[in-house]
Amino acid sequence: MRLKEKANIVAFLQDARAARGDVWFQTDEGDQLNLKSVLSQYVFISAAGNEGESALKNGKIVCEKKQDYQFLQEYLESAES
């Protein structure tokens, strides 16, 4: 699932740390960042950048455990969108 456009990135990453399983940011090219890692989080917020230029638009959030999608749902676009 993709991140909502106006999602609070810091709050999302803080909650991702508390998720039961790993939470990944996967680019459209197939590269991955494990968002439980501090360094990954820094790279992620750097990529968030300005709204129009955000590299996060070209990737999606992948949760190792399905229940974490619900845990993080306020930040994620619904599956239908």
């Binding site: 810091v10 990453l13 960042l33 360094l39 820094y42 790279v43 750097s46």
Partner: protein, 400 residues
């Protein structure tokens, strides 16, 4: 309040101009008030995510003193809480982290290169601030806010355990300064040129001579740097003409003091003291170059054993001459008797030790092997025109 913010603003501008060290003000819950920093949204988010924000909050629940903290990738912050707000300086790289280090970690972890590039561009804005300088800035920040200068020992240091440091090429561009700068420093030591040495050392202040400890142990790092420097300076002193026994004794003395220190600032003072002591030794050696070899050996022996009871027989044996012959030669070339020279040099050392303010006159008399405190006081008066107490009072009045 306006006056306070003006002071903070001036200090902030000066630190940005001198070191690209940025400043921030945040609410108690870390809500943003202001930040004078390029890419402030990124760095503000980074601060909120880093362990440093939690460390800072916990620290000021029980302390009013400034804190320097760094997260596990070595990005540091200086913080002070005052009248309901956090004042921060940073972010900056601590000595153990660098742009190159983090780049290597990112590549080893196979982070997407398109994302890493943006991240590294942000990091290129950060200065490298050595822990000793960071402590100075923490003291400055506290002074700016409270109007009182805290002791460096009261600055809390909290560095989180680092990410894997297995990659060998993780040194910053400022690491070890440059080899050539260190060689110049050695040349300045050999010539006894303290001014040139200090200038080169200032240029190397972003570097570190001999990193042997891992992240998270600033005291051990500082001690290791001091010990490595003791080796360098003692070798240079020997090349300048100081006897090997004298150089080794001096470096051993200070290495023991360094190992016994409990605070980073104390270790720094000891290294400064050691530097000064070596330069004094080198100056004495070079000042006596016009004297005969026997007299130079005698003077060097006295310098090496100033903290002991020295006998003419020992000196003569060292110089390889009979006592009566050496006495006459010494008097002729140095303009005073050996015993007078010994007493004068001990008193000069006593003055330096008293000026430091860490020992009493009685302790110093014992350290320099005077037969009694009263004899020390009488000798002190003879060579300085004042008693030890008067000297200490004069020093305290000079400092007030």
């Amino acid at each position: 309040m306006e006056h306070l913010e003006f002071r903070v603003s001036v200090m902030g501008e000066l630190l940005i101009a001198a070191h690209h060290l940025y400043n921030w003000k945040l609410e108690p819950d870390f809500e943003y008030i202001y930040g004078h920093c390029p890419e402030k949204e990124f760095f503000y988010n980074l601060f909120q995510l880093s362990s440093s924000s939690r460390t800072i909050k916990e620290h000021f629940q029980h302390s009013e003193m400034p804190i320097i903290c760094a997260d596990r990738v070595g990005i540091g912050w200086i913080a002070q809480f005052h009248e309901g707000a956090y004042y921060l300086l940073g972010p900056f790289f601590t000595m153990d982290a660098s742009e190159t280090y983090i780049r290597n970690i990112c590549y080893e972890a196979k982070f997407p290169s398109s994302l890493v590039t943006s991240f590294l561009v942000h990091l290129s804005l950060l200065p490298v601030i050595h822990i000793q300088n960071a402590m100075d800035y923490a003291v400055m920040l506290y002074r700016c806010l409270y109007g009182i200068t805290p002791r460096k020992n009261d600055v809390e240091i909290s560095f989180e355990e680092g990410v894997s440091a297995e990659a060998e090429s993780w040194s910053s561009g400022t690491w070890h300064g440059t080899f050539q700068a260190e060689r110049k420093m050695v040349e300045a030591i050999k010539k006894g040129d303290l001014e040139a040495f200090n200038e080169i050392a200032r240029g190397l202040s972003g570097a570190q001579i001999g990193k042997l400890a891992g992240m998270g142990d600033a005291l051990r790092q500082t001690k290791n740097s001091g010990i490595v420097f003791a080796t360098i300076i003692s070798r240079a002193a020997m090349e300048a003409g100081v006897s090997s026994e004298g150089a080794y004794n001096l470096s051993d003395y200070y290495i023991q003091k360094i190992e016994g220190s409990r605070f980073v600032s104390d270790t720094q003072h000891i290294v400064e003291e050691m530097t000064y002591a070596f330069f004094q030794r080198i100056r004495h050696v070079t000042a006596n170059l016009s004297c005969s070899r026997a007299v130079r050996i005698a003077a060097e022996y006295i310098e090496t054993h100033l903290r002991e009871k020295i006998s003419l027989d020992e000196i003569a044996k060292e110089a390889g001459y009979a006592s009566y012959y050496l006495s006459g030669k010494f008097q002729k070339e140095m303009g005073e008797s050996i015993n007078s020279y010994i007493r004068r040099r001990k008193i000069e050392l006593a003055k330096e030790l008293m000026w430091e303010g860490r020992k009493t006159a009685v302790d110093i008399a014992e350290e320099l092997c005077f037969s009694s405190p009263s004899y020390f006081a009488a000798t002190f008066r003879k060579y300085t025109g004042m008693s030890p107490t008067e000297f200490i009072d004069k020093k305290e009045n000079a400092g007030s």
